[in-house]
């Protein structure tokens, strides 16, 4: 198979394939040997790889042209979701498209960095203050909309994707530092704006034992799962925490805990290495990209991928609050996998459509 002709980056492709295989192995165990659920995950992986293949063929110049439209479409869908959510009650993240449902916020995880990269590529870098202000609006509007759903985890990721783009675009330190100071000053305001359950999740982080059956339950049970795995783990299909249902969300958000319990620190090191490898490979692609748009986008997407991984694992091992962020690729869930594979499609497109220019 000529991967180059398919516009696939060989290194990245094999790493993703390995990750996909591991995800099937662990979902089978975490779901309690549920064949149909594992099958559904396989279908989604296939869909994701299909999306990746498709997007990889698109030239980065086309992606650049489409960027504002993708961003705009994402915003529109978000508005629809918010509108529907206003009628229904509680969190509204899903948009039903007949056969399947998807979260428009996933589009914006790609849409925001695309839009910002497109915007920055049109001017000089590092960006001037007015351009930074415009960029801030571009990233804050969808962030706030997603936060209102409410989906704090995704909102943070979307915001960070914008922040990473800004940072990579070369926003000057003399601007970065006052902005950070401002954010720190505004933290109490943000705290006041959080919902009760969101606050308790953050408080739980510092003292999970305070409410072991309530908000602390997830963290405690997942730490028990990870810790009891030890160095070698309990072996595949032997996660007592997941199989006896002590660990909630074991095949979705907390799947890393199942992996850690069954394969121990050794298995965890492998997974960690794989994720870091994929992140660094993405950053390499960004480094070798040939124009501003491509490298800003590739760099930002790679960093968001890593952040996504870090936030999930941090939540599982009890160093970050419990926010509903899935583990990329591993967690069971449709739109997140397809969106993620689309990201890798973009990275591959950037990598395989380089003009041969020696620097």
């Amino acid at each position: 198979m000529n991967l180059q002709r398919l516009h696939l980056d060989k290194t990245l492709f094999y790493a993703l394939l390995l990750l996909a295989f591991l995800s099937l192995v662990i979902i089978y165990s975490a779901s309690g040997k549920n064949i149909s659920l594992t099958g559904a995950h396989l279908v989604r992986l296939a869909l994701g790889f299909g999306a990746m293949l498709l997007i990889a063929r698109v030239r980065p110049e086309s992606l650049q042209r489409w960027s504002p439209y993708i961003f705009g479409a994402g915003l529109l869908l978000l508005l629809i979701v918010l509108g529907v959510g206003a009628i229904g009650k509680g969190a509204q993240r899903w948009l039903s498209l007949g056969l399947f449902r998807f979260q428009p916020s996933e589009i914006l995880k790609v849409g925001v960095p695309m839009m910002l990269a497109w915007y920055f590529a049109r001017g000089d870098l590092p960006p001037s203050l007015p351009r930074i202000a415009v960029a801030a609006v571009i990233m804050l509007v969808p962030t706030l909309m997603i936060a209102r759903q409410p989906d704090l985890g995704t909102a943070v990721l979307v915001l960070c994707s914008g922040v990473f783009t800004l940072f990579l675009a070369g926003m000057r330190w003399r601007v970065i530092i006052p902005v950070l100071g401002l954010v720190a000053a505004a933290a109490p305001l943000v705290w006041g704006g959080l919902r009760e359950y969101q606050r308790s999740r953050i408080q739980t982080l510092f003292d999970p034992a305070a409410d072991p059956l309530g908000s602390g339950y997830h963290t405690i049970q997942s730490m028990i799962a990870v810790g009891s795995g030890g160095l070698y783990g309990k072996g595949w299909l032997n996660s007592s925490q997941a199989h006896l249902e002590y660990l909630p969300e074991s095949h979705t958000d907390f799947i890393f805990a199942v992996f850690a319990e069954e394969f121990g620190l050794i298995g965890v090191l492998l997974i960690l290495a794989l994720y870091v490898f994929i992140s660094l490979r993405g950053m390499m692609i960004a480094l070798y990209a040939q124009d501003s748009y491509a490298r800003l986008l590739a760099g930002s997407l790679s960093l968001v991928f890593f952040l996504n991984f870090f936030v999930n694992v941090g939540m599982v091992i009890g160093i970050l609050p419990v926010v509903g962020v899935p583990l990329p690729m591993m967690s069971y869930g449709g739109s997140s996998i397809v969106a993620l594979m689309a990201v890798f499609g973009v990275l591959m497109s950037i990598q395989t459509h380089r003009r041969i220019v020696e620097q």
Partner: protein, 627 residues
């Protein structure tokens, strides 16, 4: 492409590279944070979390041990345990208790008593324990609850072993019963021995032999899921069933005696003189112990408490009575043992006695007196005047010292709780209570009145000592304990309680011959049970005054309200030449010992010796020789 403004390509690339390098460094830093945390969880604190994971999934569950059976000497079951369905509530899991009880009320029958008991237990229970709502669910009710169980949080359907007394009130006083472990019980028991158990012996053999009957709790390590459902059993330590106890009591004899006493209040104890084995241990009225097992409701309990016949009292070992003339059997022996005392010397009985210099008259039960009587005649005819004089001759201290080895004034040490010691008085004893000893008390002690009090059990042990050559055996209810698994029997060894110190062993034969004449000569007070007996009986009648009779009054039984009538007593053993059984009978307010008490003793002896019941005696004999 040409109209795109020229950008400083190299500067931008350098800037981007440096920013990406910083980002890469941060990525590596964050990975180190993750690694550090993972090492901490999976290596350093691994044991801690492994323990937590194990504690999560493995719950040790106690397996209650089946309580030992209680059987009579022939293997008739007196107390057993059998499985029943109980409906239990785990209050910690219930949000709306009233609503839940309403729902359950539609599935099973819940009486007001059930609900009252439930709420009472709810207040008294310790945390994380289930509370019983209903016991003895029918199969149909159990099926209905089982069906709805998944939708009812905190409801448990359990199969538990329930104590049951198949013969009801028969032998309730010796057997006793179990009841729920109370807060007071909790303070004295070893809690681990009672894990998963709800009942404890409260009375009788059930209480005294608690340790043997209990057995030891088994344990099961069960893997449970997050919803508390057992998934599989990992380890199991089987419980050890409690020991089965065989009593010396013969349930048939017990029933026979209960029937003979009928509605009268009284007590009968039958014992083997040679071993101390208690063959019958009856106190009437009896009551059904079964309602006590799961907690009797307040109303029924109050009815039992307020019953003027006091069924809850164990009259046989806790009831204290004046021995009346039965004491003459022992004081007669004391006379024989007395130095410089001639038992053949006659005393004239005019029907009354008075102390020198005192005008108080001590009456004989026979108004006109017995005429000239020696010791033999006085015992046979139960002459009071003779024994008034004898008592003075013996002195109060002398009587006390002689009676003490027979076990009066002290607990027999029978294997039952709450035994009374009775009272064996002396001037010293009264002085300790700040009261003087009156000379008249010496006189009435001679006929078993005054401060002296005995229990029916003491009486039977004392008469057994006469039957057993002066060796008093300790009464025993339990004959043997049987290992439920190996069926190995360990029998209780007969124990000597005391030996009566005698100057002349021949005196024992003499008093026994007198007591035989009480039953078998036509002047004897118990002749009407002896005239047709195919074996020889030695016995002594007694009548204990309940209400004092004034100096000039005459006691006429029919004119006295029933509660103030005299208690009827009879003690005996048979056959005289090889005693197999001794009996003590007390019929409260029964009137005369010979007519009310002796026939019951005869029935017991017939049962033991002949294995049959006796036909009633002709009325003529009865009238003539009534005490």
């Amino acid at each position: 492409m040409l109209n795109i403004p020229l950008k400083d390509y190299f500067r931008e690339t350098r800037l981007f590279s440096s920013r990406l390098t910083i980002a890469g460094a941060v990525v590596l830093l964050l990975i180190i944070v993750l690694l550090a945390r993972l090492v901490q969880l999976q290596l350093i604190s691994h044991r801690h979390y492994a323990t937590l994971a194990r504690a999560n999934r493995i719950k040790p569950a106690p397996i209650p041990a089946p309580r030992g059976l209680i059987l009579d000497r022939n293997g008739v079951v007196l107390a057993q345990s059998f499985p029943i369905y109980t409906l239990e509530i785990f209050p910690e899991q219930v949000g709306d208790m009233a609503g839940l009880l309403g729902q359950l009320g539609k599935l099973v029958r819940l009486s007001e008593t059930d609900l009252k008991l439930f709420h009472k237990q709810l207040r008294e229970r310790s945390r994380f324990e289930t509370v019983t709502l209903r016991t003895h669910l029918t199969d149909e009710e159990a099926a209905r609850v089982a069906l709805k169980r998944p939708y009812l949080n905190g409801v448990e359907l359990q199969a538990r072993l329930q104590r049951h007394y198949p013969l009801g009130g028969l032998g309730v006083h010796p057997v006793g019963y179990v009841g729920r472990i109370s807060e007071q019980d909790m303070k004295r028991i070893v809690k681990s021995a009672y894990r998963g158990m709800r009942h404890i012996g409260k009375l009788g053999v059930e209480a005294v032999y608690e340790d043997m009957l209990l057995g030891s709790v088994g344990f099961e390590e069960v893997e449970t899921n997050a919803h508390g459902r057992p998934v599989r059993t990992i380890e199991r330590i089987a419980p050890v069933a409690g020991k089965n106890l065989y009593l010396n009591i013969d349930a048939k004899l017990q029933a026979l005696v209960e029937q003979a006493l009928g509605k009268r209040r009284g007590a009968v104890v039958a014992m083997e003189p040679k071993t101390g084995a208690v063959l019958a241990f009856v106190s009437t009225p009896t009551y059904d112990p079964n309602p006590f097992v799961n907690g009797i409701d307040a109303q029924s309990y109050k009815r039992l408490l307020d019953n003027p016949d006091k069924p809850l009292i164990n009259r046989a070992s806790s009831g204290q009575y004046a021995p009346g003339s039965t004491i003459k059997a022992f004081l007669g022996l004391a006379a024989l043992e007395l130095k410089d005392y001639d038992p053949a010397q006659t005393v004239t009985c005019p029907g009354w006695f008075s102390l020198p210099g005192d005008r108080h008259l001590f009456r004989d039960w026979k108004k006109l007196g017995h005429g000239a009587v020696n010791l033999h005649d006085a015992v046979v005819q139960s002459c009071d005047v003779y024994f008034y004089r004898l008592a003075v001759a013996l002195t109060p201290e002398g009587m006390k010292d002689f009676l003490a080895p027979f076990g009066f004034g002290q607990r027999t040490g029978v294997d039952l709780p709450d035994e009374s010691a009775g009272i064996l008085p002396s001037p010293e004893w009264k002085k300790a209570r700040g009261q003087p000893w009156y000379p008249g008390e010496t006189v009435v002690t001679g006929i078993g009145q005054g401060p002296i009090l005995v229990t029916p059990l003491q009486l039977v042990a004392a008469i057994s000592a006469l039957a057993n050559g002066g060796v008093r055996m300790q009464p025993r209810l339990v004959r043997a304990a049987e290992d439920a698994k190996t069926k190995a029997l360990s029998e209780t060894v007969p124990e000597v309680a005391s030996e009566i110190p005698l100057r002349d062993k021949g005196n024992l034969q003499t008093i026994i011959s007198y007591l035989t004449d009480v039953v078998h000569t036509n002047k004897g007070t118990a002749y009407w049970i002896g005239w047709n007996s195919p074996y020889k009986i030695a016995g002594k009648t007694g009548t204990a005054q309940v209400k004092g009779v004034g100096q000039t009054e005459t006691y006429v039984e029919s004119m006295v309200p029933e509660r103030f009538r005299d208690h009827a007593l009879f003690i005996a053993f048979a056959p005289v030449d090889d005693p197999k059984v001794a009996v003590a009978v007390i019929v409260e307010n029964g009137g005369h010992g010979s007519s009310a008490a002796a026939p019951i003793a005869r029935k017991v002896m017939d049962y033991v010796i002949l294995g049959k019941t006796q036909s009633p005696a002709p009325a003529a004999v009865r009238q003539e020789n009534d005490e």
